[in-house]
């Protein structure tokens, strides 16, 4: 599946929710069910600090693809992270650089990515893109 296809799949999953309550319950479930980073990865180096919540992001570059693991101390943030990891992990740097992430808006979660939220998610996406650019540059050099 391409990134666009995974995004479309997530949009479809979310289309069954008619109110905010169900949607957030689902995100909370996603957050709870995913121990997505090991304790070793939760170090200072991988920490993205926000005023509201903290996010850890680790990236491994294997056979031309980037694998992300991430975590947060806040469960809603973690739920949204798990969606981002699902979209981005196992992709080539170029795919990541080209991704537009419109699905976040389509599933009605864009407010959580606004700079005012200071929850580290926006910085996390920037960091994901930064890793992609860095690995792409590495490959070409």
């Amino acid at each position: 599946m391409t990134i666009k296809e995974v995004e479309q799949q997530i949009v479809e999953e979310f289309s069954i929710f008619t109110d905010w309550l169900d949607k957030y319950e689902y995100i909370i479930e996603l957050g709870k069910s995913l121990p997505i980073i090991n304790e070793k990865g939760k170090d200072e180096k991988n920490l993205i600090k926000g005023c509201q919540s903290r996010v850890w992001l680790a990236a491994d570059y294997i056979d031309g693809k980037i694998f992300f693991t991430a975590d947060s101390d806040a469960i809603i943030t973690k739920g949204i992270i798990s969606l981002l990891v699902r979209v981005f992990s196992g992709r080539t740097p170029q795919e990541i650089i080209d991704a537009d992430l419109l699905f976040i808006k389509e599933i009605g979660l864009e407010e959580n990515l606004s700079p005012t939220r200071a929850n580290g998610l926006l910085s996390m996406i920037r960091q994901i893109k930064f890793y992609a650019v860095a690995f792409a540059a590495n490959k070409n050099s």
Binding site: Y24, I28, Q52, R54, A74, I75, I76, A118
Partner: protein, 408 residues
């Protein structure tokens, strides 16, 4: 004048409270960050922006004269409101932060030397910490901190020991924006004075919830913001004792703060203009006068009784929630509650409350050292104002319970 003693009558004056958020009636419990504005304030801002806009103190034309009257009238209103002795003691600034920075620059450069000590508490807002850290790095002075106990009360038992002869200035919040306890400032001021130190009181929260009389407090400086007191953003006050302000050298130069100017030198204007360089936010300042009119229109006895009722209800209900930790429990508390619930991240709860139409604050609240003191990375804070109702308090409690159910 008849005073307001009916919450609905008070609420009617606040258009922002009538809106719906996320399809629900707004419950605005983030007043510690900023309060909504009554129509008197909004109307004066509109009137001045659409008509009475002439730069103050400068021209003979009608618009300038009218804005000067409104601006200086607001100064008189502030003076009476805090019972200052002289209008020269009331300096308009852009807010609490600007007022503290003014003192941290002007007082420090005049009175603080290498080896002197500035005493704060460990519960100060960043705006009553960082300016002093900066002042210390300029002057070579040192900072010292009065600790708070587990409940958030000042450790008054340690005060005498900390207040030695090296302490030249004490700068503390009357009410911490996290703990919501009315601190024993009078006692501290008296002790500091006996030890030969001057005292600045950060009244950002205190001016809203207590009756402030600077003569009775005998503080040397009292600072607050307009926007938490139902006034416009970008307005604030520095009250300072006249003899101190007269000795202090301004940290900003420019128009309106001068007597005479030649190419080589200048002389200072008289107080208060000496500290008001440049065109001030005169429209905002004038509207702050309206906010004070609003404060004066409320039956204080009624407001205090009402706040107390809502406060005890919320405190009682919160205490019954499993795993809750409330920070700031003391004899004299304002309706401001910072808390954490075991296993629940503050931002998660705040996000869900927002979805239920309830506005609260979450995070570090500009008090990172205090967060470290309690070993947390954030808290949830609900802070109420005079217009909040018991019904809103009930919605708030129900919403927390619902949020907790979703998150556990």
């Amino acid at each position: 004048m008849e005073l307001y003693n009916d919450i609905e009558k008070i609420r009617e004056q606040f258009p922002a409270l009538k809106q719906r958020v996320n399809n629900r009636e707004l419950v605005y419990f983030d007043n510690g960050a900023t309060a909504q504005k009554p129509v008197g304030v909004i109307n004066l801002l509109n009137e001045m922006n659409s008509g009475v806009n002439g730069n103050i103190h400068r021209a003979v034309h009608e618009l300038s004269a009218r804005s000067t009257i409104l601006y200086e009238g607001a100064r008189d209103a502030v003076k009476s409101f805090i019972n200052a002795g002289d209008r020269g003691e009331i300096i308009f600034t852009s807010g609490t932060t600007a007022s503290i920075n003014l003192v941290a620059n002007s007082f420090t450069s005049t009175f603080i030397n290498k080896g002197d000590v500035i005493l704060l508490t460990e519960a100060e807002h960043h705006s009553n910490l960082v300016p002093w850290q900066m002042a210390c790095s300029r002057s070579g002075a040192e900072l010292r901190f009065l600790p708070v106990d587990e409940q958030g009360n000042w450790r008054m038992d340690l005060l005498d020991e900390l207040l030695d002869k090296r302490v030249k200035l004490v700068s503390v919040a009357q009410i911490s924006n996290v703990l919501g306890i009315i601190n024993p400032v009078k006692q501290l001021i008296d002790k500091a004075h006996s030890a030969g130190a001057k005292v600045l009181i950060d009244g950002a929260q205190g001016i809203v919830h207590t009756r402030v009389d600077v003569k009775e407090l005998d503080c040397d400086f009292y600072v607050f913001s307009g926007h938490k007191l139902y006034g416009p953003t970008g307005t604030g006050i520095l009250y300072g004792k006249k003899n101190l302000l007269e000795e202090m050298v301004p940290w900003m130069g420019g128009g309106d703060m001068v007597g005479t100017v030649s190419l080589e030198k200048f002389s200072f204007a008289e107080l208060p203009l000496k500290f008001e360089a440049g065109t001030p936010n005169f429209i905002g300042a004038a509207a702050l006068g309206e906010a004070i009119k609003f404060m004066n229109s409320i039956d204080k006895g009624f407001a205090e009784k009402h706040e107390k009722e809502v406060e005890s209800y919320i405190l009682g209900e919160l205490s019954r929630i499993d795993g809750i930790r409330i920070y700031g429990l003391g004899k004299n508390k304002i309706p401001l509650f910072s808390f954490n619930i075991e296993g629940i991240h503050p931002s998660d709860l705040a996000i869900l409350l927002n979805k239920m139409g309830v506005a609260v604050r979450s995070g570090m609240m500009c008090c990172e050292p205090l967060m470290n003191r309690y070993g947390v990375t954030g808290m949830v804070r609900a802070s109420l104002a005079v217009y909040n109702t018991m019904k809103e308090a009930e919605i708030f409690i129900e919403s927390i319970k619902r949020g907790v159910r979703m998150l556990s």
